[in-house]
Symmetry: C2
């Protein structure tokens, strides 16, 4: 089947390790991929640059970058000027329950935009790299949330009402540990050197190695006996 | 109760007749109102100007304008360059089922952004001027959609998970006819001369009088024996 005849899917692509893997899963499942990156007033553009590289490397049909200024609402470490926590142990991350890096309603907003684009494209499949193992504290990474969104999508749209198809939210990484995600991605040919996960990179976009996101990622590569290919700030 | 002690609500304010009335309902219900206007690549700015006037006239606590470029996705008369239908009878509007002025997933996106802001504000109440009488063709104006979103909101957020309150989506105009909405709004002191409903205004922002939105509005004022206070393009 030529790629142009393949069913279309919208893939939310942040430029991080998880979404790069979710994109590879969508391609492996036979979809023509339309990648959507949402730039929401992050403090650095490293993620956006990574998203462009990942989209290009994986040969997506289309890549749209949509900007929303969530800073207008305030309220999160990723959009406002709150200190990103560093050097937390896995236990401390779990104890913290909902991390201060939680962005209010972020995945709801992301999925809504993906849904709008999917409807225009005649697509019924939306991929998101949500994970409820490492991100158990994020309410909008839980299976119940994703099911509720899928239900909403089929009520919210012309396509849903006219019953020309049913929207499906795919979260292929939902129950995987980080090392399982990396193993799967490597098997699918994902180039993790292009991705960016750090919450607090330096001016050369090198990962800090100390925020929750870096620590989870580094631990996973270590468990696999591999070296994370992205550049890190040297240890002091 | 001083306004600063009142519970907060986020009100979606387009600048149209319905949302201006929904805002007045939120104030009448005792909420401190935070108005959210979403500018999504409309072909004209008349709605945005109207939203500012309505917010100022009704004395909101805060008015945020959030921009999203839905033109990046294409697909609707309100965001792309498709001809707006004119001079349709009420029957023709109903027969058309889902109007071409339907914007994919618009209310899902709007409510998601309102939810994000509500969570930051510590608000649990969101008002939307959705109506399932005149806009029966829009999937995202139906009661089932609004209920599904309310359910989602309580799964999607820190506030929902920590059970510090339950989000409520208020659609006070849902089952009202347009003349009932106007009657209610006038009783609440809404100044409809500040609102803008037309899909295709002229360069002086005068309403066309011929698109579905103008026709529904004009008919309602006529039924009430009143004159719509907004300026219209003179009949040829």
């Amino acid at each position: 089947m030529a790629d142009s005849e393949a069913p279309r899917a919208v893939v939310l692509l942040s430029g991080g390790l998880d979404s790069a893997t979710a994109l590879a899963e969508a391609r492996a499942a036979g979809f023509q991929v339309h990648a959507l990156t949402i730039f929401y007033g992050q403090r650095h553009e490293a993620e956006l640059v990574a998203a462009r590289k990942v989209a290009a490397a994986q040969g997506v049909a289309q890549h749209v970058e949509q900007g929303i200024d969530l800073r207008l609402f305030g309220g999160s470490a990723l959009t406002a000027t709150i200190e990103v926590p560093k050097d937390r142990t896995p236990d401390a991350m779990v104890e913290a329950a909902i991390p201060i890096t939680y962005v209010p309603a972020r995945n709801t907003i992301f999925l809504s935009l993906a849904l709008a684009w999917a409807e225009v494209l005649g697509a019924f499949d939306i991929f998101i790299g949500a994970n409820c193992v490492d991100y158990s504290g994020y309410p909008d990474c839980r299976p119940a949330f994703l099911e509720a969104f899928e239900n909403l999508a089929n009520l919210a749209t012309k396509a849903g009402v006219e019953d020309t198809g049913r929207f499906r939210v795919h979260a292929p990484l939902l129950h995987m540990t980080k090392d399982e995600i990396i193993t799967r991605g490597l098997a699918l040919g994902v180039d993790y050197s292009l991705t960016h996960s750090c919450y607090d990179p330096d001016l050369q976009d090198r990962a800090c190695g100390r925020c929750d996101s870096c620590r989870i990622r580094l631990d996973a590569f270590r468990q696999l006996g591999r070296t994370d290919p992205v550049p890190y700030v040297p240890n002091p």
